[in-house]
């Protein structure tokens, strides 16, 4: 909504309130000011004045120039040479019987250059024009920056005396407001005046318009009812349709002042008839439409036209004012006559009954439509319009009267139109008046403040609610007909609070007892997982949860994709973001691919849901923990001598850090297969029977598909719900610290290559018994000294007793037991 300040000030006295303050008060009260545009704020008050052209003479040396004598309040009229076409016709007039008020610029004034493309400011300098010196100007709209019109000088319709600064007459400001969906009532100047009056607690004046007295011949057309019939076939979508007829209009341009206002309000002036309907709409909020009545008569074969408001029929089409031939669906509400559609109700008129230069009689429509229907049609037809913007938020049927009367008045004043007596007013569904009870104490209960009854009443009455005290206490409040957004006490509380001022409400802290505080295991484990992985050196990423199923199929080395398993959007913005991810790895691999353009190393993780479609139900949304690691194991540094690549064991280490942080012990790592992973470098992780997920290196095909280079890419895909079920909230039990010295030994073994280290470890631990305090694998060797198909595993064993210093015989005995067990169970031999 663009609020033209000079227009607003016709209804309300804003003295004492500066525009910045007003904008802030509007904003705080819910009329959010987006920006303020100033018109003429740069005009020089000394050099740009109201002038009166009192005499026009031909230029002695040029046919296309005239000499204008301009009274600017300083005695002798000032001579100006001008070529303005609208003065040229007056060149033989001499003294004008009615001086023309114009914008007069003295030497030194800054103006836009009317002859240059675009907006270039120049300073006015005196010069001789065809032998006649001229040091002043009469200005066009373009020169003043009002519009791009440079076809003639601006003629002012003002009472201001010559010499008054032009800024006092013509400068203006436009406040652009961003109005929320509930503020239909404020999408017009009178509505803004009403809101402003309430906010500033001062009166405003906008008398309800009445149509001008009927004129013209009686007989046929003596009353509107003789000129048109109105039938509403869809009263559910059109509660009211009011038609009036205005005859003998002379179609032409609107007066400058009105046209300027329309432009400032954001509408293009068309002609005085269309402009009259738009102006009345901007003023009262009732969108109106003018049909060429003569054309309606032609279409009716000279019979009385019959307006029918109905839904479109299958296959029906019409050409709208914007010359688009539109297909109409059966939910579209139309204004028709017996020959077919005339307008898309509330959205846009039709080409065939448009007001043209030849129009003499006008049928004026003022109606109310169902806001949902108008919104839908405006959207389906991709036709936003000022009319649809208002009808689409709800226009009360009562408003047709003021809107129609105001437009008739303007047609009379601007186009010489004679309003035919009466109107045809089809009003099948007048809404019942709405009354709302405001219970006693409700303001204090909900707003937390006690307001004097007079204050409450004053606020509501400024907004034109009717307020009656109830015998039982509280108020009975009747909602004014311009509002359709108030139905509950809470709605009244909002009006009271915002007009009283949110800034004047007290601030308190919640006084009630705390609700029962509950542990949130779900969140605790999720956040602990994040912390653990950051500790493990990984960066957290957050990816689009919307992916392309085809792209995600690249996670499968066979590119298998089953669309039915995906949650897929009906209205995606693009195919790349059409389905919810089924794997946490999709975004991670995209992130790695993206980063490898800038760096050679990435270690990333993400925690979040994946989505498994379920027919006719909401999808399953299990949370996963994903990781991906690739590149040098350490970031490049001046100290790192040798680098190796991140691989399976780095991912495993990160997972081990995670498990440790969550207090999960006893994880088992088993070789396994996974559709995305290397068949010989993949493990399933589980604790007991609970599967946690998979860790592995990407299958080379998958790696290639995602364009991740030729180094290993280690990934993990874990089930966070499983981790949560296994996580132990508490800390580990304390193990006493032995004061006795430990005894350390190394043991290198040669075993078959296929023997898992975990099996060796199990045998060592079982055979060693309780004296083995610690066991670490410190070397793995394959090569000539181990023999073909064999490997050497070197372990560091730490023996320690809690209650004594161990003798060498005891550790020797343990070592022998261990070696014996390894030989017997795994075919292992101690390395010489």
């Amino acid at each position: 909504m663009r609020v033209v300040m000079s227009w607003l000030e016709e209804y309300i006295d804003l003295s004492g309130v500066g525009l910045p303050e007003l904008c802030e008060r509007w904003t705080l009260a819910g009329l959010e000011v987006e920006r303020v545009e100033h018109v003429g704020d740069w005009w020089d008050r000394e050099r740009l004045l109201v002038g009166a052209i009192v005499r026009v003479e031909p230029h002695p040396n040029a046919d296309r120039l005239v000499l204008a004598y301009v009274d600017h309040g300083a005695g002798t009229p000032h001579r100006v040479v001008t070529g303005a076409p609208n003065l040229l016709s007056l060149r033989h007039e001499g003294d004008l019987p009615r001086p023309l008020k114009v914008a007069f610029a003295r030497e030194g004034a800054e103006l836009f250059d009317g002859h240059q493309e675009g907006w270039v400011k120049t300073r006015l300098k005196g010069r001789a024009v065809r032998g006649i010196p001229s040091d002043a100007m009469v200005c066009s709209e373009k020169e003043l920056g009002l519009s791009d019109d440079h076809s003639g000088i601006l003629v002012l319709d003002t009472d201001a005396a010559p010499g008054v600064p032009l800024a006092d007459v013509l400068a203006d400001a436009v406040v652009e407001m961003d109005l929320t969906a509930n503020l239909a009532r404020a999408m017009n100047m009178v509505g803004i005046a009403r809101e402003t009056a309430a906010i500033l607690d001062r009166p405003y004046r906008a008398p309800a318009p009445v149509p001008p007295p009927a004129t013209g011949p009686a007989g046929p057309g003596g009353d509107a009812a003789e000129l048109v019939d109105v039938v509403i076939e869809a009263p559910d979508l059109c509660p009211r349709y009011t038609a009036r007829v205005v005859r003998h209009v002379t179609v032409g341009p609107s007066p400058g002042r009105l046209a300027r206002r329309l432009r400032l309000a954001g509408m293009r002036p068309i002609n005085n008839v269309v402009d009259a309907t738009n102006y009345a709409m901007l003023e009262w909020g009732e969108p109106l439409h003018a049909f060429d009545y003569g054309r309606l008569q032609e279409r009716a074969g000279s019979a009385r036209p019959r307006i029918t408001v109905r839904r479109a029929r299958a296959g029906e089409r019409m050409v709208t004012l914007d010359l688009v031939d539109r297909a109409l669906d059966e939910e579209t509400l139309l204004i028709c006559d017996d020959a077919g559609p005339l307008a898309i109700a509330g959205v846009m008129g039709g080409r065939d009954s448009e007001v043209t230069a030849a129009t003499t009689d006008v049928l004026l429509e003022a109606a109310a439509f169902d806001f949902i229907s108008i919104r839908r049609t405006s959207r389906v037809q991709k036709l936003p319009s000022e009319s649809a913007a208002r009808f689409g938020r709800g226009v009360h049927p009562a408003l047709t009267e003021a809107g129609s009367a105001r437009a008739c008045g303007l047609l009379h004043d601007m186009a010489g139109g004679a309003t035919v007596a009466g109107s045809v007013d089809a009003y099948p569904r007048p809404p019942a008046p709405v009354t709302v009870t405001l219970p006693p104490g409700e303001i204090e209960r909900v707003l937390g403040v006690s307001l004097p009854p007079d204050r409450v009443r004053a606020v509501l009455e400024r907004l034109e609610f009717t307020v009656e005290p109830r015998a039982a206490g509280g108020l009975e409040v009747t909602v004014p007909p311009h509002r359709m957004d108030v139905a509950l006490a809470a709605d009244l509380l909002e009006e009271i609070a915002r007009v009283h001022g949110y800034d004047r409400l007290p601030s308190t802290l919640l006084a009630g007892g705390l609700p029962v505080q509950r542990d949130n295991e779900r969140l605790r484990v999720e956040e602990a997982a994040r912390d653990a992985l950051v500790l493990a050196g990984l960066h957290e990423v957050i990816s689009y949860r919307l992916v392309s199923a085809e792209r995600e199929a690249g996670l499968d080395r066979e590119h298998h994709v089953d669309p039915s398993q995906y949650v897929t959007l009906a209205n995606p913005i693009s195919p790349e973001r059409a389905s919810l991810r089924r794997s946490i790895l999709t975004g991670l691999l995209e992130a790695v691919a993206g980063n490898l353009r800038f760096t050679d190393r990435a270690a990333l993780f993400e925690v979040g849901p994946v989505f498994h479609a379920r027919p006719d139900a909401l999808p399953h949304e299990p949370r996963r923990v994903g990781m991906v690691l690739t590149g040098p194991h350490a970031e490049r540094s001046w100290r790192v001598d040798a680098t190796r690549h991140l691989d399976f064991y780095d991912a495993k280490g990160a997972v081990e850090t995670l498990l440790e942080r969550l207090g999960i012990r006893g994880a088992q790592w088993r070789p396994d297969r996974h559709a995305s992973m290397h068949p010989a470098r993949t493990a399933r992780v589980q604790v007991g029977e609970t599967a946690i997920g998979h860790v592995g290196e990407l299958h080379p095909r998958v790696r290639e598909h995602w364009d991740l280079g030729d180094r290993p890419v280690a990934v993990a895909d874990l089930d966070l719900e499983a981790l949560q079920s296994l996580a132990t909230g508490g800390e580990a039990a304390f193990v006493p610290l032995s004061p006795y010295p430990p005894s350390r030994q190394d043991l290198a073994l040669i075993v078959d290559d296929g023997v898992p280290a975990a099996d060796v470890e199990t045998v060592i631990r079982e055979a060693a018994g309780p004296l083995l305090a610690d066991l670490e694998l410190f070397d793995v060797y394959r090569g000539p000294q181990a023999g073909p198909g064999r490997k050497s595993l070197a372990w560091s064993l730490t023996f320690q007793a809690p209650d004594r210093t161990l003798e060498s015989e005891q550790t020797e005995a343990a070592r022998e037991r261990i070696v014996g067990a390894l030989r017997a169970r795994l075919g292992a031999e101690p390395r010489a």
């Binding site: 009260a29 969906a181 909002e494 957290e540 993206g594 980063n595």
Partner: protein, 345 residues
């Protein structure tokens, strides 16, 4: 020097002393020691002369040699210490390092900037007794809209372009469906929760709009909760989140699920309220919407609006991060560029 020192001894001692000064390193010093005080050193050899002296001169000569020997031993010791000190100093000088070379750090990871802000929000509200309540991403039209007082085709739906799966299922456009879930779970107990989560809007992806974003919403329901409590709670949050000196204001707004409704603005972080491009020259940044829970929503949640009241508030996490850190392009958040992620502290 004693005056009655034997001239021979004196001469020998002076010679020894002079050559001691020439011993420039530990090896030379050792050679000096052998040459002067060793078994066949100059001083030792002097003693052998005693035999050729008259008996009465012998004690005096012997004592003189011994004094010279002691004196030279001490001089040797001092010189030895001096040379060792010098050798160590040279060795240490050789070990000089460039202290301006980068330190060695273990590879570190970082949390996503959105996670950092979410945690800060959790912590501030936890102190006020608000607990975290999470709910699902995919919702029904009923929970996302209708139960929140947004009927089909309502103009308020224009505020939130929605991704639909079908007529009934959609991606939540806000975390508000969680309000209904929580109320239905806890009614008629009092509630104080915050609801974080990913939300989705059908927008073009540009520097200013994204198809997904984190929202955190708050909900308090009890007997006697007022709009003044809402103001106090939000102000308390804003003081801790944005700093005690930042002004906060409430202005009237519209949300279908609250009545009265307000937008909360905080003084612009970048220009301190003077007006800049980020705050569109208003001096204020919009941080969240809030209001008193609409009676229809309370009823849908299972609370009698004549007895219970409540407030709700909610805002976008990424937008807050952008405002606080001067990030001008929202697409950074999901682009996962390490150069962006590494900027978190």
């Amino acid at each position: 020097m004693e005056p009655d020192e034997s001239p021979v001894v004196n001469e020998a001692r002076q010679l020894a002393e002079a050559s001691l000064r020439e011993a420039g390193d530990l090896a030379a010093l050792e050679r000096w020691h052998a040459a002067e005080l060793g078994r066949s050193g100059r001083i030792t050899l002097l003693l052998r002369r005693i035999g050729g002296l008259p008996a009465d001169e012998r004690p005096v000569f012997g004592a003189s040699v011994n004094r010279a020997k002691t004196w030279l031993e001490a001089a040797h010791g001092a010189r030895l210490e001096e040379l060792r000190e010098a050798a160590l100093a040279a060795q240490l000088a050789d070990q000089a390092i460039d202290v301006t070379l980068p330190g060695t750090r273990p590879p570190r990871g970082r949390l996503h900037p959105s996670t950092l802000i979410l945690r800060r929000v959790y912590a501030v509200f936890a102190d006020m007794g608000f607990q975290v309540y999470q709910s699902r991403d995919v919702e029904t039209d009923a929970f996302n809209f209708e139960l929140l007082n947004i009927p089909r085709h309502h103009p308020a739906r224009d505020m939130q372009d929605t991704f639909y799966i079908d007529d009934d299922r959609l991606l939540r456009t806000h975390t508000s469906p969680g309000q209904i879930h929580a109320m239905r779970q806890y009614a008629p107990e009092p509630i104080r929760i915050i609801l974080p989560g990913m939300c989705y809007r059908r927008e073009q992806i540009t520097a200013r709009s994204e198809i997904q974003f984190h929202q955190v919403e708050g909900l308090a329901v009890d007997r006697g909760i007022t709009m003044a409590d809402l103001k106090g709670t939000i102000e308390s949050f804003a003081r801790r989140m944005f700093g005690a000196q930042r002004a906060v204001r409430f202005r009237a707004s519209y949300f279908p699920f609250t009545e009265p409704s307000a937008e909360v603005d905080v003084e612009c972080f970048l220009c301190d309220g003077r007006g800049c491009r980020v705050c569109k020259h208003t001096g204020w940044l919009e941080i969240m919407g809030c209001g008193m829970v609409h009676p229809v929503v309370l009823t849908n949640g299972g609370y009698d609006p004549a007895v219970f009241s409540g407030f709700a508030f909610g805002g976008g996490i990424e937008r807050t991060a952008m405002q606080q850190r001067g990030i001008t392009d929202i697409r950074h958040f999901w682009a996962n560029d390490l150069r962006f992620l590494a900027q978190s502290q």
